[in-house]
Amino acid sequence: MSAIRGRVVARDGDDALVRTARGDVRVKHAGAAQPGDLVELEGAGLPLRRVRKYPRTEYPPRGSEVARLPPSRRGNLAARGRMMAALREFFASREFVEVDTPLVVPAPGLEVHLAAVPAGNGFLITSPEYQMKRLLAGGMERIYQVCKCFRAGEVGHHHQPEFTMLEWYRAWDDLDAIARDTEQLVAHVATAVNGRPQVTVQGKQLAVDGPWLRLTVAEAMYDHAKVAVRGDESVAELTEAVRAAGIDPGTARHWDDVFFTAFVERVEPALAAIDRPVLLADWPAPLAALARRKPGNPAVAERFEAYVGGVELANAFGELTDPIEQRARFEDDLGVRRARGLPQYPIDERFLAALGEGLPPSAGIALGVDRLAMLVLGARTIDEVVAFAAGEG
């Protein structure tokens, strides 16, 4: 009888799991054989003795570090790969340049509700936006990037502390162009994977070909929460309006917290019930983030969020290009951070210097790629569409 050759793929106590051309076998009393070793089975004078065939379903053995992906996960990763190919094809056909900016930066986003992860002498990015806008100031006109972003403490069905972001920017163009890109991109990748412009949310199918429903934040808040929001009211005034609508703002004392109490309770569930994607536009000025105020109505900002089946997919800005207002907003954010006992981060002076040298009128957007994959593949949780979920790295 001739010997069978195999490679040890795992140790399980005294046993070894050996992969051979005829399948995986568990070998008892495997001596010193280590994972990676080539061994021979069933031969005179050989170190290992074949004991029994190992059924595929029992593999890997409990406690083993050998990973075998469930077929659904493998299928999702393959489909996600096709989606990414379609995504790059979309941007290439529109003459966007793919760029790659640093993941470790000295000054992460200052947004009050984001927590950056320290790395070396700096931080991992929470978004590549400062660096990408510096490229616009430097003369690039259409750029996109797919990269990892890191936000500490965010774990849920739609959140991972390390996730994949897509951002793209158009210099010398406006938010409407970004809105059209968004509609077309989602329809394009859904068609590439599913054969038609359709996604699945919580088991429900949704057509994503455009144009998507355009709603302003004021309309959505009034229609679904019965709260009138202008954007320039005081916290006290907004709190009163929220209470009058029968929503308990609890201990919320800040404008954004009061707003989101009503938004999360009434508006988000209503957006989930709309049978087409929604572009929710004209955000109140206190929620402008890095968007410029709307010419003609400074109470609201040039910002939209894309909601697909209630899933918040992307956030877009008509970019704030004024370095003085930008610095003032950074200082406000730092003041709020101090008041709430949150970590202080440095202000990104290179970014402000780039604005000072002249950022052309621009618009850009950040889109959650894992969430896009969830929609296209009909997954219910983000874990289903990533190679390794939070804590599995």
């Binding site: 947004e111 509700h113 403490g153 965010e154 774990v155 849920g156 069905h157 739609h158 959140h159 609890g250 201990t251 919320a252 954004d256 917290d257 707003f259 989101f260 109490t261 938004f263 999360v264 309770e265 988000e268 929620l287 983030a289 969020e305 918040e312 956030n315």
Partner: protein, 189 residues
């Protein structure tokens, strides 16, 4: 006090003066906003389920509730008496708190008694009980065409249960205490 990072299934909290247990929760975070935990709570007294969005930073008050395994001892007027196996402490619970299932309770049945602020407020029976049939008319063969596939039977605790026609006096049957329904015959005595 608990904060949102303590929220997990089974956490007992006090909301508006009532004890609740967390049955489901989800992390949500609107763009540029604070994180919320969308949480479904079950009222431990009424069973009613409510949903609340708890903002990160908000506090939840722990409810002073305790679950204890206690043995059913006997009935006294409208009360049922239970005893803690370890401390031998006894408590009296109004029979109406248990409802219909009270007539399936045999002496020494281990139950879960829920205490809120040291007072018993709810009793959960084991999901299934095994009881002997003490009275039932014999099944009439051939009478199934009219749809009479079950008949009434009385079990040793005095409760009445609909059972299949083949069940006889002396049979041990398994009953679901949540629905008061026959599940299966366990063995012949």
């Amino acid at each position: 006090m608990y904060d949102t990072s303590d929220i997990r299934k089974g956490l007992k909290v006090l909301l508006d003066g009532n004890p609740y247990t967390v049955v489901e929760f989800q992390f949500i975070k609107p763009g540029k906003g604070a994180a919320f935990t969308r949480t479904r709570f079950k009222n431990l007294l009424s069973g009613a389920v409510i949903e609340r969005n708890i903002r990160s930073g908000e506090k939840l008050e722990p409810a002073n509730v305790e679950e204890r395994t206690m043995q059913y001892l006997y009935k006294e007027a409208d009360d049922l008496v239970f005893m803690d196996d370890k401390s031998f402490e006894q408590v009296q619970v109004r029979a109406e708190m248990i409802g219909e299932a009270a007539d399936l309770m045999k002496d020494n049945l281990p139950c879960t008694v829920l205490f809120f602020n040291e007072r018993p407020v709810d009793v959960t029976l084991p999901t299934f009980v095994l009881l002997e049939v003490t009275a039932s008319e014999p099944g009439v063969a051939g009478n199934t065409a009219a749809g009479n596939v079950t008949k009434a039977a009385t079990v040793e605790t005095g409760g009445s249960v609909q059972v299949p026609l083949f069940i006889n006096i002396g049979d041990m049957i398994k009953i679901d205490t949540r629905t008061h329904e026959y599940v299966e015959r366990v063995n012949k005595k």
